[in-house]
Every structure is written in C-alpha cells, then in structure tokens.
C-alpha cells in the first residue's frame, strides 16, 4: 500500500504514456511530467504569495489580506485578475524587444531549474550525470535576465538596481557553489539522484542526511544564506527594496510582466530551496526510520514548505543589509568559512567513523566561525561583547 501511494504518479505517467505509439512514448511521458511540474509549482507560488502576506502581517502585528475568500486565502485569484487586466505600460525610450524578453527569459530559466530536482522516489525529470552543475549553469542565466530587465528600461534606478543585483548574485554564487562542493565530495557524484541515494540510510532511527554532520550543518547554513542572497530575498533585497530604489530593476514593468517577474523570482526561490533540500536535507527521504510509509513526494514538499516558512520568517524579522555590508559578508566571512568547510569535509571523509572525527570537525567549524565573525565586526578582538541599547 505504501509502495503504491509512493509511486502513484509514476504509474499514472506510464499508463497515460502507454496509450501513445512506441515512438512518441518518451516524448509524451516527459511532457506529462513537465505539465505536472509547471502546474504544481505555479499553485505553490500562488499559495506562497498569500501565506507570505499573512505571515508577514502576523509578524508585524496585523492581519494580512483577509477580504477575498475565507481568511483571505483566495487572494492570489484577485492578484492574478488584477495583473492580467492592468495596462501594460512600456516607456517610450525603452528597448522594446529586450524589455519583453527579460521577464520571459527569467521565468524560462527559473522553471528549467526543476528539471534535475528529484521530487520523490523515481520522480526526477532528467537524471543528468551533472545535475548540480546544470542547476548552477541555468541559475547564471537568471542573472543575465535581470541585467536585461534593468538595462532595457533606460532608467537610472533600474540600471543601478540591476548592477547591484548582478554584483550581489555573482558574489554569493561563490559560497553557494563551494558549500555544494562539500556535498558533491561526500557523495562522490554530481547527480542529484545519487546524492539523495547516499543520504537514504538510517542508523537506528536517525537518518544519514548531510545536515547532521558538522560540515553539513555549516554548509547548510552557508547554502541557505547564499540562496537568500541569490533570490534577492530580504535581508538581501537591496536591489529591489521599495524604500531603497523604488523597485530596482523592475521599476518600469507593469501588469502581467511584473507578475512574471514576481513568478520568476519565487520559482527561483523554490528551486534553490529544493536544491538545498536535495543536497543537505536528504531530498525525499523521511526524517525518522519509522516514518518511511509516508510517500516520498509528501516529504519533499513538507521540507520545501518548512524552508519557505523560514524564508518568510527571516524576511519579517531581519532588517535589510546595505550593499557594502552585503559584499563584505560574502567575500570576507562566507568565502573563508566555505573554504574551511571544504577542508572539514575532507577531514571527515578521511577519518574513520567514530567520536574523534565528530570532535575534530566540530572544533574546526566552531572555532573558524567565531574567529571570522569576531574578526569582521570587532577588528580581531576576542573579548566579551558589550551591547549598547537605547534607553
């Protein structure tokens, strides 16, 4: 029974594809999977917009939207109708072709990222041998789309926002990729399916997820912080903050194109959270060994929802970082931390299983974190920190 529920979508795909002649069968089954991915993640996007607004509202001690539908849960339908019927204003001096292509290429790149994420057991769209590399390659196309958006508007603020966004994204790509390289080293393969398979054992009731190792723990936090910066989410949303630069690179976009940008950004956020879950949190495997009867795709989406909730929580809680603080953080804290994490992962691999490697690796990670953190903010002094609060 558990097996059938787990593989229900795979069997459904095979049975529908069985109706086609043998030559068209792979095309049809791939198209079914693509339609399913598009549908599911577009619905998740709609749900996330309303959850985010209500969540942020409750953090800020107010209700979120609560007029449309019970508890405001049908708000995405109202938002969709609004963005479809708004007038599409394109500035006269704007570069029309590039202005049109920018949101389209952003959404294309964002949806392509889901091709290598295993959403459940046997449920990956393409099992690429170089899956993680594909993911990073396509996310660098997103940077080009953002540049196209900012430049084609012929607006100083858009260009400035786009330049900042690109600088931020390429700076944070380095710790992101270095944190993923530790996982690739541990799993021995670039294929996402193989990485999830390495994390699928259980010792007792505890899983073998990479996040439960010292280097995996540090790597997971590095990855998540870099992922927040890559998707231009608060507290790294200087390029698009409303109080900073109007709306940054999508100032001149209205109506449906603005909705496409929103969609592209959120889908990018889901995709990179999905990669973080695949690399560190064990993908579709259950957290405790007696819970494996719950289908694998439900675990993946539960973890994805938890990560999205963390993103919303952080957005509502932390203030925005200034550009130079952002860059300092990336190059002077996260990059050395990611390199030390790489060394720690190597140490972990070459010691034998036991308490010694836990102690050594944890000490290396914690000491380097404290030294780098104190080094940045207090000029390498290691005394007690004195907090001054307003009276």
């Amino acid at each position: 029974m558990g097996e059938t529920a787990d593989q229900i979508f795979v069997t459904l795909q095979h049975s529908i594809a069985g109706y086609a002649p043998a030559g068209l069968r792979p095309v049809l089954s791939t198209m079914l999977a693509v339609i399913a991915i598009l549908g599911v993640f577009a619905l998740l996007f709609a749900m996330t917009t309303v959850l985010e607004r209500k969540g942020l509202g409750r953090i800020q001690n107010r209700y979120g939207p609560n007029r449309v539908g019970p508890f405001g849960l049908l708000q995405p339908i109202a938002d969709g109708i609004k963005s479809l019927t708004k007038e599409d204003i394109v500035p006269q001096a704007a570069d029309k072709a590039v202005h049109l292509l920018a949101p389209i290429s952003l959404v294309l790149a964002a949806f392509t990222l889901f091709a290598v994420l295993p959403l459940g057991r046997n449920m990956v769209l393409v099992n690429l041998d170089a899956g993680v590399l594909f993911f990073f390659a396509v996310s660098s196309v997103m940077e080009v789309a953002i540049f196209m958006a900012g430049w084609s508007s012929r607006n100083k603020y858009s260009l400035l926002g786009a330049m900042r966004a690109i600088a931020q994204m390429i700076s944070y790509e380095v710790p992101l990729i270095l944190a993923s390289v530790t996982v690739i080293m541990a799993a021995g393969s670039l294929s996402t399916v193989e990485i999830v398979a390495r994390q699928s054992g259980y010792s007792g009731i505890l899983p073998h997820w990479f996040v439960f190792t010292p280097w995996g723990f540090a790597g997971f936090f590095l990855f998540m912080v870099a992922a927040t910066a890559e998707s231009n989410r608060s507290p790294f949303d200087l390029p698009e903050g409303e109080s900073e630069i109007i709306a940054g690179y999508f100032t001149e976009y209205s109506g449906f194109k603005f909705a496409l940008f929103f969609l592209g950004e959120y889908i990018g956020m889901f995709a990179i959270s999905g990669l973080g879950i695949t690399l560190f949190l064990g993908g579709w495997s259950a957290p405790l060994s007696f819970l494996t009867w719950i289908p694998s795709y439900l675990w993946f989406f539960a973890k994805l929802l938890a990560v999205i909730a963390m993103f919303i929580w952080i957005r509502g809680t932390l203030p925005r970082l200034r550009m130079d603080q952002l860059m300092n953080f990336a190059w002077r804290f996260m990059l050395p931390m990611a390199l030390i994490n790489l060394v720690t992962a190597g140490i972990w691999h070459f010691f034998e299983h036991g308490v010694l490697r836990w102690i050594v690796c944890s000490v290396v990670v914690v000491v380097s974190y404290v030294l780098l953190g104190r080094g940045l903010t207090q000029g390498w002094k290691l005394e007690r920190r004195i907090y001054r609060f307003a009276e």
Binding site: D95, V98, L128, D129, A130, L133, F134, F136, A137, V138, S140, V141, E143, V144, F147, M148, W151, L159, M163, I166, I170, E173, S189, L190
Partner: protein
C-alpha cells in the same frame, strides 16, 4: 536536424553580434551564440563541457563584457553604416580564411565517414584525469587564478589609497 538548428542559431547569433549598432544588443546576441555552442556540446554528449560553457561563458564572461561596456560609457548607437570603403579587401580576406579552414577540415579525419568508437566520458573520468594525469596543468591554472585575484585586489586597493 537538431545540429542544423543549433548551428544556425550559433551562426545567426554571431552574425548579429557583429551587425548590431548598439553594443549591448551585440552582447546579448553573443550570449545567444554561446548558448547555441553549449547546445552543440550537449548534443555531442559532453555534458560537463556543455554545462560549463553555459556557466562560464554566459554566466561570467558575458556579464563581465556587459560590465566593461557599461563602465566605459560608450553606449551611443553607431550612426555610420556598416559598409566600409575597403569592403572588397575584407571580402577577399574572408574567402581566404574560409578556404584555409575548409581545406584543413577536409584534410583531417573529421570528415571521413568512419566512426571510431566514442569513449564513454563520465564526469568521474574527467575528475580522475584532472587529478592524476593533468595534475601539473591543474596546479598551474590554480596559481594563475590566485595571481589574477591578488592582482585585482591590489589594483582596487591602490585606487582606494589614491583617492585619499
């Protein structure tokens, strides 16, 4: 058929990169040319090279070119026409280069219809080759990148000192 499509995309992107009047349009069509090349690599089964092409050329080199163009502020559209007075000599040079390349390709083994058995190159083998057989070139590339990084930081630091 797929190869023809990607080849046309690559060549069209390259031709457009040469013919657009506005520099940023040229860079964007160059990105299309890079993407076509990456698609041809993937068609050949070279996953690592194809994806590295996208990551490095589109994700880093194209953005670098864009930054360089925007920081030199020379983005006025070129108003002259593309035809130059010395076009006959240029066409002659183009045909000469094409002739040399075509002769070289026909003379090599690439055009013979005998398919040698293709080696199965997995990423594991690329990694093994880099660490075992090509360890020295790898170290030299690492050294080169370190020198470039230190040089960039030094230049930026000196500018900051000069401003004071």
């Amino acid at each position: 058929m797929l190869f023809t499509t990607f080849a046309i995309v690559t060549v069209a992107g390259a031709v457009a990169a040469m013919s657009f009047r506005h520099l940023v349009h040229s860079v964007l069509s160059l990105i299309v040319a890079f993407a076509g090349l990456a698609a041809i690599y993937l068609l050949l089964g070279a996953q690592f090279v194809g994806l590295a092409q996208v990551l490095i050329y589109i994700g880093a080199v194209a953005i670098l070119v864009v930054f360089a163009i925007l920081l030199t502020r020379n983005t006025r559209e070129i108003q002259r026409s593309i035809a130059v007075s010395s076009w006959r000599q240029s066409v002659a040079v183009v045909f000469a280069v094409f002739g040399v390349l075509a002769w070289a390709i026909y003379g090599s083994g690439a055009i013979s219809h005998v398919m040698r058995p293709q080696p199965e190159v997995a990423i594991q083998q690329i990694g093994d080759a880099l660490i075992l057989r090509f360890a020295l070139p790898l170290e030299i590339i690492g050294l080169l990148l370190t020198v470039a990084l230190i040089g960039a930081v030094t230049i930026a630091m000196q500018e900051k000192k000069e401003k004071r």
